[in-house]
Amino acid sequence: MTPAGKYETTIGLEVHVQLATQSKIFCGCSTRFGSSPNSQACPVCLGFPGALPVMNKEALGFAIKVGVALGCEIAGRMKFDRKHYYYPDLPKNFQISQYDLPLAAEGSLELFGDGQRRVIRIKRVHLEEDAGKLIHAEKGDASLVDFNRSGMPLLEVVSEPDITSPEEAYEYLTEVKSILRYLDVSDCNMEEGSLRCDANISIRKTGAKSLGVKTELKNMNTFRGVKIALQYEIDRQKAVLEEGGKIIQETRLWNEAKARTFLMRTKEEAFDYRYFPEPDLVPFLIDRETVESIKASLPELPQKRYERFVENYKLQPALASIIVNERDLADFFEESAKGYPRNVQLIANWITGDIQGELNKRKLSMASLGLKPEAFADMLKLIDEGVITGKIAKGLLVDMIETGSMPRELVKSLGLSQITDKGALEAVMEKVIKNNPKPVEDYKNGKTNVITFLVGQVMRETKGKANPKIINEMLRERMGKL
């Protein structure tokens, strides 16, 4: 937890997102992930002398979408600049980025996760090209460079320092990711590097007027990693201050394996980027109509949807926020609700319970799971109709996912119908009574709660196809006669 009372924390995040265009930002090389090193490279993204960049129109369109969705002011005129630093994964030793005329600025993002609204202001959103990838060979004295990633379109979203805790940073990232996925402009897969995050963090005595000295944190590769790294850094800064030391403005690298941050460079060693306008690219003018038409074409965004889910479906805020977080989950919810409007809360429970469980187990997204909302809604109806038990439904859901079949067909072919025939149930019940003399004796001696155990035994014998309510009644009746 954030140091309570004594210190308060100030965090600003820089999120880099790879845009899901087909080709790179300034050349026609593919953006596919995971290809053999240097198989997706050309003179432009290799920065070979004489090669020239040409702007990918789709990348700009995607970026404007994000700017608009984050409530930013979209620049009427934007340009690219060169940012210089030497690193082997940066083929030209400058990155084409945006400096003083970014694509978008002054937006905001609302967090609503725990039902408490907080606004995080967005400072700027700009486009740039990604660098290649350095692989540090395990043995020997070499690093290897792969330029497949070089020139991938990147969008940098910079927040104002409005974030007050690692938990809130986590929430902010989740929300940014959610919005980008709603807009269908990025996979936001942190493991594949399509979403990356740097943080500026400082602490100060509660109530202090000026901000503390900040450090920059890099190399946080998972959402969870961001949370842990920020907490580590807060604790580190706190310890320094408590010992009477001073925080030094520096860049620190998070090492996930060692779970600590390491000094990368101090402010004195900071780069002099020598920005100047990129002469090989012309300026871009974005007119009002373009922005307005993009605005009009945006889908309903998570926050609006969350409000609607709470308002119209009367969902619990916590459930609603989990569901709207992923666009396809929320779509699934709404489609299912059309087929089964009777109890949408039940749908929400299933989605956040069993369905989410299946998604995690299979590492799949809702869209690729292959579960149709009509089928799911019909499954819920089968429970209501008394054809199957809730317990059977859990297994049936898995069968539906695996076979893609409709639930009624599966119930028939697998013989999953509830046993409602009393004769058949009586036989099972007799068997259970016979095999469990001790609990039966206990029941007779007034320990009536053992009935739950006996019901469970019947359920086991019938592989869950019996109706527990009926069995309960039958057992009580039968035992009363003993």
Binding site: G50, M55, D272, F276
Partner: protein, 482 residues
Amino acid sequence: MAEGLYKLTACKIRDLIEKKEISVDDVVGALTERIQKTDKKLNALISLEKADLKSEVERVKQNKGGALYGVPVAIKDNICVDGRLTTCASNILEGFRPPYNATVIDKLREKGALICGRANMDEFAFGSSCETSCYGPTRNPWDTDMIPGGSSGGSASSVAADEAIAALGSDTGGSIRQPAALCGVVGMKPTYGRVSRYGLIAFASSLDQIGPITKDVSDCALLLNAISGYDPKDSTSVDIAVPDYTKSLKNDIKGMRIAIPKEYFVKGIDKEVKAAVLNGIKTLESLGAKCDEVSLPHTEYAVSTYYIIAPAEASSNLARFDGVQYGLRKKGKSLIDMYKDTRAKGFGSEAKRRVILGTYVLSSGYYDAYYLKALKVRTKLKEDFDKVFKDFACIVTPTSPTPAFKIGERIDDPLSMYLSDIFTIPANLTGIPGISIPCGFTKKNLPIGLQILAKPFNEETLIRTAYTFEENTDFHKRKPDI
């Protein structure tokens, strides 16, 4: 017939081949012999392998025809040719064979031209004397103690000495026009954006332009036809129709209004140069042009402006030469040692000087004072020209303030070297086209050039004016005795 073929112009050679009076082999044979005889003295052509020439001839023979069919063209060493050594006359690009063609190479070959050699140049085109090449200096065929001008000194020297029928150069501050003037040939810098820069190893991206160096104005029109036009691979090339420039080969400038800027005839200009250019202006008047003195008041700032913008862009463009992907690598203990030693060893003095100057003017705290200020003065220079072109079809000036000077004379005095570009730089800063044509000789038999400037995309005016002058004078017919 093969005797003396090397003396012919491109137009003439193409016509003779078309009429089947001579063959491509005859031309190449005559030229090869000529190169063997004269280039030991000139060092104008570098790094052309025999096998390359053979394959060029084979390739051309497969072409059916074309406006440049069978015409051997020398290519400045900063224009990329797929698989051929392209080094910018720098040690740092030792052994570099680009895996792609510059657009102009594809265009020339389409028209049936063949590459007969790589032309020497100042390292990375940094210079006005062709002395800074890692291959050693090129000499002026009119007097081999003299520089040929630069940076396209090899291109101009080889054409003047009949070692190439025509050549391509590049012009960032006068690098085509000044050596053309000093070698007594025709050189044109087209409007910025007229010719694709794709595959031209950049010196200063917002100033560079490829152009032809030829024996006469007709050849200039022919080559310009071949290389001009929009290229989707160059964002700064302009998508407007290319006229047939040979249609401007008209001996008629009656009534044309020509401006003579007074700032180009003051301090520092050589007496003989001044007299020859004034004489040239008289010739133009006698042919029906109306010449009036005008003022381009910001001319005095052009060199300063240029020596901020050009080195700044160059320092950025040359950052990529670091030994990672291609060219020279000096092994170092660490990465930073590798960078520093590679660049220390790979760059010559002038390259280092310009990179350091450019890095300085872009470094933190200096951008506004230097770079931004230069961009503003650039606007002023543009306004000067716009004003004159409201009333005048073209502007006539000397190309260079002096004729060729002695090798070694200015090599240790960068500032005096920089001032040799004083009359050519404004066209690069403002993007307008310019041509240099022979207009006289000094008493020591050194050529003098006359520069004509026109509005953007008005190369037709340049060709017509230059052609008319050429048709009525004999300067272009004189050949150096080598």
